[in-house]
Each structure stands twice: as structure tokens, then as C-alpha cells.
């Protein structure tokens, strides 16, 4: 708790004044949550994948916000890499989705629930 309050009351540069670190963190947390909830509730594989992308980007926002807060560049560098990886994952996901669609003519996640227990 203490860390968060410290951050919220941090003396930030004037340009950032309207939006404190806390705002960005809440945004990122919200995005992460939305992504997670979306992943849980949507059945379509593509939408589900997009939800994971949303979660990745939530992390990205947090990274950039922290990077700015700490006044150093590592976080931003990190984001570049995250984007790259996300792209790679997207490529993979699409290939997979195509494969699956060919097999079942559907992208409903429930189609693939043969193995259990």
C-alpha cells in the first residue's frame, strides 16, 4: 500500500501532472483484467487470442509508465521486445487458427475438449 500511495503522490514533471503513475497503472491493470475476463468469456479463438494481446499490451503500458516514472529507458526497450514477441505469437496464432478452422470449420474453443480428466 505504502508504495502505491508514494507513487500517487509523487512529484511528477509538470507535463505529466494531470495523469500520475497511478492512473497509468490503473489503466494497465484494467486492460489486463479486461483481457483476462475476455479470455474467459469469449469462445472464439481469435477473440481469445486478441484478449491475450490485450494483456500483453497492458503489461507494455505499465512498463512504459514505470520507465517514465523511473526516468530511464529500460522499460521502453522492454516494450519493444514485448511487441516483437507479440507479433511472433500472432503469427503463430494465425497459423494455428487456420489449421484448426480447416479441420473443424469452427473456431469455437469448446470444439477442442476431447481430452480431459
Amino acid at each position: 500500500m505504502d508504495m502505491l500511495t508514494t507513487l500517487a503522490q509523487a512529484d511528477l514533471p509538470a507535463a505529466m501532472a494531470p495523469a500520475t503513475l497511478a492512473h497509468y497503472l490503473f489503466l494497465s491493470a484494467a486492460m489486463f483484467a479486461i483481457g483476462l475476463i475476455g479470455f474467459l468469456t469469449r469462445r472464439n479463438l481469435i477473440v481469445m487470442f486478441l484478449c491475450t494481446e490485450l494483456m500483453f499490451q497492458a503489461a507494455g503500458i505499465a512498463l512504459i509508465a514505470f520507465s517514465r516514472f523511473h526516468m530511464e529507458q529500460t522499460g521502453q526497450t522492454f516494450v519493444i521486445f514485448v511487441l516483437t514477441v507479440a507479433a511472433a505469437e500472432a503469427a503463430l496464432a494465425l497459423a494455428l487458427v487456420v489449421l484448426l478452422f480447416r479441420r473443424r470449420d469452427s473456431l469455437d474453443a469448446e470444439q477442442w475438449s476431447e481430452m480431459k480428466g
Binding site: 507513487l7 489486463f32 491475450t52 505499465a62 505469437e89 477442442w112 476431447e114
Partner: protein
């Protein structure tokens, strides 16, 4: 940055090897394509040699957080990787090559998967190796993703041609496995990525060493970093198939072909364990290596992380074992048992490095157990990979398919039994020695309840391992088992026999391995913890001259 290059020689070798494999795989000549496997093996051998020769001294000079881990981790990965190479032979393109030979198809580079498969194989191993040489969250993230992404593809590929052989079910299962694996994997990745972000946010650095300093007990309380740390650990637990990220395991292992399942049970898990060790070491574990005497500060994990790991360890062991108890499919039994083994390894991580000597060093025990686990688990999967149903070349499914294996195929039967007994932790096999390390370190850390639960879990595990052993060894084969035949890939048998030999021989000569893992678990001298306040000193080991002298073990 270039000062890191000498440490990356194995990865570089692997990268070159990967390129070579990709190129070779395009050749229309079967002989050349077959070379891919050999090149993969050669690459791993080379990487292994380079890894063994990694200079720990140099690594600690340049301030790596755990200099010993680099060489040890990579050598371990290369060693088990070599066995895996032998095992994965024939996983892809089997039906396709046969059609080419029979003249029913012509070679088409876009249909042949062999090169890609081996390339992915190497990439994934390379990712795991990179984890071992990580000192930074970004590096760690990339390495973990490099480990995982190829495996998603490998799962699909592993059964790609199986409908040609007549086993259409396998193909659909492989797809299901890859869907589950990929999507849940992405979810897991998102979780640990978010954790990394918070960790960075809380500490202001992605360097593990600096994170450690920021999390040290003397520093200000740092809630964000703690949450980040815990989220990272939970996210990474997907890689090691620990509760609560274990759900995919059984389905994916069942869906993938046996060799790939063996690969999945080892490579991402190794990467995950190494990551957890690095994180845990950064976040608290550490001890000063003060010349002759080992001891003094052993650090503590942040309580939150400790509690969470504790819960995870118990849940993982228990869930893995009790669920394995219920299974009828061999691969699912092994999958759940691999979950349980992750739980055992978490015990070591919780126990921490103790005073640094092997028997009290949970980190070393974990790393040692990782090796044991790699060898024995691979052996069990290898036996499955060596057998198929003669009708449709499908893999063995149920435990009952193994009935009387020891009579029909004594060698495979012995391998299976030895590996199961070793996983059970039966002395004097390798698994026992691994578990003994976990036992001693857990008790040394004062984690008696955890160790007792570990013991009870081993007992639960004994039930299903015993069931497997009895099926293989004590039952007479029936007519249903007549259709089981060995696969035509001799290297798989070699892998099986090698791992069974390892289970026995390594147990006898385990000392060198133990010493190495002890070295690997040592924290670099450049990253001493800041001195802590007096009230934080562990009361268990008052640092009087006598006790320091006492800890210097008499052997």
C-alpha cells in the same frame, strides 16, 4: 555487452547448427535430409562441450547473478537434449517419407517438416539455455518465449502425418493439445510479463542483481515489486506445470506424441525452474562465499513469495500425485507425475541455499533433481515412444497396453521399471538421491512439515508407479498385447537404454554432479547482499566462531 559473448558460445553454436539444419532440410536428397538429425545431435554435442567449458570465473567477474548456473544449466540441457535427439527420431515425416519411397508422392520442400522440427527443437533448447545465462528480466522474457513458442508448433507437428498411418484420432488430439497449450501458454506469458513489469516498476531496474538489492530486507518495503515477483513466479509456473498453471499438462502430453511429450516435460520445465531459481535468488536467496568458509548470510525470501511458493509446492505435489492415481492413460499418468515432480523441486527452491553445502542447499538440490528428473522421466517416455500398435502405428494409450511388456520386450521393460522406480524415489536409484537432497535441504531449512508432505506424496506416488511396474513386470501379456510392436527407430531404444543406464550409473557417480550443482547454486560474489539489520539475523545459527567452524563439514 560484448563481454557476454564468451558465455554465449553454446547458443551461438546452436544457432549456427539450426541454420544448417534448416538448409539441409530443403534438400531433395533423403540422405541429406536425414543428416538434419545428425547435425542436430552434433550441434548439441558441441554446445554441451562448450557449455562444460564455460568459465565460471569469468562469469562471476562480469557480475552474473549465478555464474555457476550458466555452465551447469547449459550442459544439463545439452545432455538431456542429446537424449531427446535420439528420442525424437522419426517423429515427423514418417508417413510422408514412406509415400515418397513407395513412389506415391514426390518430394515437396513445403510438405517436409523434418528440418523445421529439428530447428524448432534446437531453438527451444537454445531458449532454455539462454534462461541459464540471463541476468536481466528482458533477457529472461525473451528466453522463455524462445523456449515456448517452438514447442507450440512442435506439438502440432508431432502428429502431423499420423492420419497417413491410419491414426486419425492422434492428429485431432495433437491439434487440441496445441490449442490448449498455445492459448493457455499465452495467458501464462501475459501473467509473468505483467509480473515482470511490476517488478521493474517496483525496483526501477530489470537487472536481477539490482532487483535483488531493492528487495533486500534492509531496503524499503516494496509492495509493487513483491506483487510483481509473485506474479512472475506464478506465471513462470506455467512452464514448470505447477499449480495453479498445471491444467494443460495432462491434455497436452496426451495429445502430443511421446517423444515430444518427453521434450515438453523437460525443456520448458528446465527453463521455468532456472527462471524461478534466478528470481528466487535475486529476491532473497543468497549467501556470501567468504573464501574457505561457507556460511553466514543465507537470506530469506520475501514472506509473501515464501507463502505462495509453499502453497504452490504442496498443491502441486498433491494434485499431481492424486490425479495420477486416477489415470488409465500412461501418458497422463506420466504427465501428472511430472506435475508432482515440479512440486518436489519447488520444495528445494523454498528451502533455499542454506549454508551453501550441497546437502543443505535447496537450490543445488533443485538443480540436481532437475537433472535426475530429466533423465528418468525421459526414460519412461522413451519406452512409450519405442512402442506402437501394429495396426495403425498409433501410440500406446492405456496402462493396460503395457501389460507384460517385461516379458515381450525385456529391455524396454527394464528401462520402464527402472525409470519408474527411480521416479518413485526408491534407493539406490538416481531419483532417490535427488529426493534425498531435497529432503536434507528442506529439513535444514526447518521446513519439516513440507518435507513430511513431500514424503507422504512420494508414498502416494508409489502407488501408481507400482501399478505401472506391476503391469510391466509382473503381469503376463495377453492377446491384446500382441499387437504392440517396437517402432522401427533404433535411436529411440538407445535413448531409452541410455537413460535407464543413467538412472543407475549416475546414482553411483552422483557426487560429481552434486558438486557441480552445488557450484551452480552459488551466488556470484559480486552481488553480495547488503548488510542486514541485527534483528533479522537467523537465530538458528548464531555466527559464533565455533559454529562457523562446525559448519565446515568433516567428511
Amino acid at each position: 555487452m560484448t563481454e557476454r559473448l564468451p558465455l554465449l558460445l553454446p547458443e551461438i553454436a546452436m544457432f549456427i547448427g539450426t541454420c544448417l539444419v534448416l538448409v539441409l532440410g530443403l534438400s531433395p536428397s533423403l540422405a541429406a535430409r536425414k543428416m538434419t538429425g545428425i547435425v542436430t545431435g552434433g550441434t548439441l554435442l558441441l554446445a554441451g562441450i562448450l557449455a562444460v567449458n564455460t568459465s565460471t570465473g569469468y562469469a562471476s567477474q562480469i557480475g552474473m547473478p549465478m555464474p555457476g548456473l550458466i555452465g551447469f544449466g547449459k550442459a544439463l540441457i545439452a545432455l538431456v537434449g542429446l537424449l531427446l535427439v535420439l528420442l525424437v527420431a522419426g517423429t515427423v515425416d514418417r508417413g510422408y517419407e514412406r509415400m515418397i519411397l513407395a513412389g506415391r508422392a514426390t518430394y515437396n520442400a513445403s510438405r517436409a517438416l523434418r528440418a523445421e522440427f529439428y530447428a524448432f527443437f534446437l531453438f527451444s533448447l537454445m531458449g532454455a539455455m539462454l534462461c541459464a545465462s540471463a541476468d536481466d528480466l528482458i533477457w529472461l522474457f525473451l528466453a522463455l518465449e524462445l523456449t515456448s513458442l517452438p514447442t507450440y508448433v512442435m506439438v502440432v507437428m508431432s502428429r502431423a502425418g499420423s492420419d497417413v498411418g491410419g491414426d486419425s484420432k492422434a492428429w485431432s488430439r495433437a491439434q487440441e493439445a496445441s490449442v490448449k497449450y498455445f492459448f493457455l501458454g499465452a495467458l501464462g506469458a501475459a501473467i509473468f510479463l505483467y509480473g515482470f513489469a511490476l517488478l521493474y516498476g517496483g525496483t526501477g531496474s530489470t537487472k536481477l542483481v539490482e532487483i535483488g538489492a531493492a528487495l533486500s530486507p534492509s531496503a524499503e518495503p516494496n509492495t509493487i515489486a513483491i506483487i510483481g515477483l509473485v506474479m512472475s513466479l506464478v506465471g513462470v509456473s506455467f512452464k514448470i506445470a505447477a499449480v495453479p498453471m498445471h491444467f494443460y499438462t495432462a491434455d497436452v502430453y496426451e495429445g502430443a506424441s511421446a517423444p515430444v511429450a518427453a521434450f515438453l516435460a523437460f525443456t520448458p520445465k528446465t527453463a521455468g525452474i532456472i527462471t524461478m531459481v534466478l528470481l528466487a535468488t535475486a529476491a532473497g536467496w543468497g549467501y556470501r562465499d567468504t573464501g574457505l568458509m561457507i556460511g553466514g548470510d543465507r537470506g530469506t525470501l520475501p514472506p509473501a513469495a515464501d507463502v505462495v511458493l509453499w502453497i504452490m509446492a504442496i498443491a502441486t505435489m498433491t494434485v499431481g500425485n492424486v490425479m495420477a492415481w486416477m489415470q488409465t492413460s500412461v501418458k497422463r499418468v506420466l504427465a501428472y507425475s511430472s506435475i508432482a515432480h515440479s512440486g518436489y523441486m519447488l520444495v528445494g527452491i523454498i528451502a533455499g541455499p542454506g549454508n551453501g553445502s550441497f546437502e543443505q542447499n535447496g537450490i543445488a538440490a533443485t538443480l540436481f533433481y532437475l537433472l535426475c528428473y530429466g533423465v528418468m522421466n525421459l526414460g519412461a517416455f522413451a519406452v512409450l515412444a519405442c512402442l506402437e500398435n501394429s495396426s495403425d502405428e498409433s501410440e500406446l494409450q492405456t496402462v493396460d497396453d503395457l501389460r507384460g511388456l517385461g516379458r515381450r520386450h525385456p529391455a524396454l521393460g527394464w528401462v520402464f521399471v527402472l525409470c519408474c522406480m527411480s521416479m518413485l524415489g526408491l534407493p539406490p536409484l538416481l531419483g532417490f538421491i535427488g529426493k534425498f537432497g531435497l529432503f536434507t535441504s528442506g529439513i535444514s531449512a526447518g521446513r519439516l512439515p513440507l518435507v513430511v508432505i513431500l514424503g507422504l506424496n512420494s508414498a502416494i506416488a508409489a502407488f501408481y508407479y507400482l501399478k505401472l511396474v506391476a503391469m510391466v513386470w509382473l503381469e503376463e501379456p495377453g492377446d491384446a498385447q500382441d499387437r504392440v510392436r517396437p517402432v522401427p527407430f533404433g535411436t529411440r531404444r538407445i535413448a531409452a537404454i541410455l537413460s535407464a543406464t543413467g538412472v543407475v550409473v549416475l546414482a553411483v557417480f552422483a557426487n560429481q554432479l552434486a558438486v557441480s550443482s552445488q557450484e551452480a547454486a552459488r551466488r556470484g560474489p559480486g552481488v553480495m547482499l547488503k548488510p542486514r539489520s541485527a534483528e533479522r539475523v537467523e537465530p538458528a545459527a548464531p555466527a559464533t566462531p565455533e559454529s562457523v567452524a562446525a559448519v565446515d563439514r568433516v567428511r
